[in-house]
């Protein structure tokens, strides 16, 4: 069994979590204590969206920081020209209510916990399923925190992270790519894996296929997309006597071919092709006519 390097780091951070709180956090310390309870599948910081309301017209989102003592959740809209694009969402009892900016689309969310010797950041992306969002690439590339994990790209609408797929991220420290940096992946299904960034700070994350067989049988999700599990990607870096830890979490789904059969798909396609095959036959009379015309 692999030793959880980050778990050790996190334990040290958690021990001092409330020893020297930054001013912003001091105003919300009782809430922060409630939120900072760790979840069993990971001790890395997370931002979990919770949906309220059943249909789209009444739907709203609460962002819950987990494993991190943060006072606010910061949100970046994909519209860099919007004066309110970068906003701070106060954390109430249940979490930070996420407002939908006019442009909709992708929103980068982060929460930050600063101690005298460490900075911990949780980050995630939320997508408002509305048209009109601008290209979020510039928003993702925007400098937000010292240590960052930036999706390259993030799954667009009608897409998501899925088992057995490879997705790229760039790891940056103070805006510069971090080469040969270890990146850890943990999933709520119990997987733990490590990757290394290349010379340009890019890390390729392989999403593990760790859904249990009995889960694969269950229904749910939207348009055949199963509800999925959670993953968190984390990186740690030390600089100037401070330890920086940044995590990026998201959900992921089953393998693209789970609950699908390519063999049957090919079979039904063949049935259709055979059904159309008589159309390709030339009638003798027509063929003779054609021959005489050509002659």
């Amino acid at each position: 069994m692999k030793i959880h390097y980050y778990s050790c780091l996190l334990a040290a951070c958690t021990a001092t979590a409330f020893a020297a709180e930054p001013p912003a956090m001091a105003q919300h310390d009782h809430n922060a204590m409630m939120r900072s309870q760790s979840r069993d599948w990971t001790q890395l910081p997370l931002l979990k969206p919770r949906m309220k309301g059943q249909d789209m017209s009444s739907r709203s989102y609460i962002i819950q920081p987990q494993n991190i003592a943060a006072g606010v959740v910061e949100a970046w809209s994909n519209d860099l020209d919007d004066a309110n694009g970068h906003r701070q969402l106060s954390i109430e009892m249940g979490g930070a209510p996420l407002d939908k900016p006019a442009t909709g689309g992708f929103q980068m969310l982060t929460a930050r916990e600063v101690q005298s010797d460490s900075v911990r950041v949780a980050s995630t992306v939320h997508y408002f399923g509305e048209r009109g969002g601008k290209n979020p690439t510039a928003m993702f590339d925007q400098f937000k925190h010292e240590l960052e994990i930036v999706p390259q790209p993030y799954p667009r609408e009608h897409s998501r992270y899925r088992a057995n797929e490879d997705w790229q991220f760039i790891v940056r420290f103070k805006g510069q790519p971090l080469a040969a940096q270890k990146v850890v992946l943990e999933t709520s299904n119990g997987s733990h894996s490590e990757f290394m960034t290349d010379a340009s700070g890019v890390v390729k994350m392989h999403v593990p296929d760790d859904f249990k067989a009995e889960e694969a049988q269950s229904k749910g999700g939207n348009h055949g997309m199963r509800r999925g599990a959670d993953l968190v990607l984390a990186v740690s870096h030390e600089d100037g006597g401070k330890r920086y830890l940044t995590a990026f979490n998201s959900s992921y789904g089953e393998d693209a071919y789970a609950n699908r059969s390519l063999t049957m798909g090919l079979g039904f396609m063949l049935v259709g092709m055979l059904g159309a095959a008589p159309l390709l036959r030339k009638r003798k009379a027509a063929a003779k006519n054609e021959e005489s015309t050509n002659a």
Binding site: Q54, D55, M56, S57, G105, F106, E130, R131, G133, K134, N135, P136, T137, P153, R156, E157, H158, S159, K219, H223, G224, A256, Y257, N259, R260, S261, L262, M264, G265, L266, F268, M269, L270, V271, G272, M273, L274, G275, A276, A277, L279, L280, R281, K282, R283, A286, N294
Partner: protein, 349 residues
């Protein structure tokens, strides 16, 4: 120079089709992953949302989603139907119409990736000398009804009922589940996921099996039948609802008596619109017309059939053009020169 590059309208249209095939199938990869979120998501052609690198989405998937998630859900709560429920659907239709206004149903004939794939298959069918199967005046009416059934049931009806909770949730986007463009465009990106039939539930399996069988049928039928899926495509009927609202039109001269003896334009029409030979004026712009312009190319008389935008002639039939055109290709699309040596050798003896 343009005349050398595009000696015929057909060559120009095919070039546009190939470019648009790249935009609608690979556009996201060429122009950036998030292009799909920015262009419209309401394109009046079958640019498939299941294609992970498409440049834009088809209006039909947006319409199904909104009927499923907004309109249907709101109708289920009687009395709770308000402007903020219908507004997103109206915006989708509005964005669609901004595109549609300029090109009208040319989206079908010039942009749709599935239309291009079928047309390429038909060209292959001509090269390998497969017979041409046409719908006659007598039986074409039956197939024309199917596109309205597809629109009313698969695009509008079932998604709304799914949103209301009256039918199973898997019927939220039933047209997409049977659409051959979903399979064709994803296969063009080397993605076989959509070819694999869903086995999760009976409904998923049934729709998947039907979609795959239809896809198999279409790709073989397209070798002998022109645009086999276009005839039953709900986007053709959807676009037909709006075709009178666009200034882009097919226009035919009123009461031109030579038409009764000719009928070449009927042979040239890939949608078997026999009315193009007998109807005049605005009636010649039929609900099945995809504005491909072949009828104008193959009309042997000057300016009898024209493609017009705001009354301005973009292309008009002419005797000289017709003479040059038929030297290379018959109205039915049969090239005059064989290009497959093995077939030529076989026929020569």
């Amino acid at each position: 120079m343009l005349n050398n590059l595009f000696p015929t309208l057909a060559r120009f249209r095919f070039t546009v089709q190939i470019i648009m095939l790249f935009v609608t199938v690979y556009g996201g990869a060429l122009l950036g992953s998030y292009t799909v979120d920015r262009i419209s998501q309401a394109l009046p052609s079958l640019a498939c949302a299941y294609d992970k690198v498409t440049g834009d989405h088809c209006i039909l998937i947006s319409a199904q989603h909104q009927l499923h998630h907004r309109v249907g859900a709101a109708l289920a709560k009687a009395g709770d139907v308000a402007l903020n429920v219908f507004l997103p659907t109206l915006i989708t239709v509005g964005v669609f119409f901004m595109f549609f206004f300029f090109l009208n149903k040319a989206f079908c004939g010039w942009v749709c990736p599935l239309g291009t794939v079928q047309e390429v298959l038909y060209k292959i069918g001509r090269r390998i000398r497969r017979p041409l199967k046409r719908f006659t005046k007598e039986n074409v009416g039956r197939v024309r009804l199917v596109k309205w059934f597809m629109l009313l049931v698969l695009v509008l009806g079932l998604p709304t009922l799914a949103g209301m909770g009256t039918v199973a949730n898997e019927l939220g986007d039933p047209f997409c589940q049977v659409c051959p463009s979903r399979i064709a465009t994803t296969l063009l990106t080397a993605d076989t996921e959509q070819l694999a039939v869903r086995t999760g539930t009976g409904i998923n399996f049934f729709l998947g099996a039907l979609g795959n069988a239809m896809f198999g049928f279409i790709i073989i039928a397209a070798l002998a039948v022109r645009q086999p899926f276009c005839r039953i495509c709900p986007l053709l009927s959807w676009n037909a609802l709006f075709q009178k609202l666009s200034p882009m039109r097919l226009v035919k001269k009123e009461s031109y008596d030579k038409c009764a003896k000719c009928g070449v334009c009927e042979k040239a029409c890939p949608m078997d619109i026999h009315e193009i030979g007998t109807a005049f004026g605005s009636k010649a712009f039929h609900e099945d017309c995809t504005l491909c312009g072949r009828c104008a190319e193959y009309c042997p008389d000057d300016d009898v059939i024209q493609l017009k935008f705001f009354g301005f002639k973009l292309f008009g039939s002419s005797r000289d053009y017709y003479k040059a055109r038929v030297k290379h290709e018959s109205p039915e699309g049969q090239p005059k020169k064989r290009v497959i040596p093995i077939l030529r050798a076989k026929e020569n003896g």
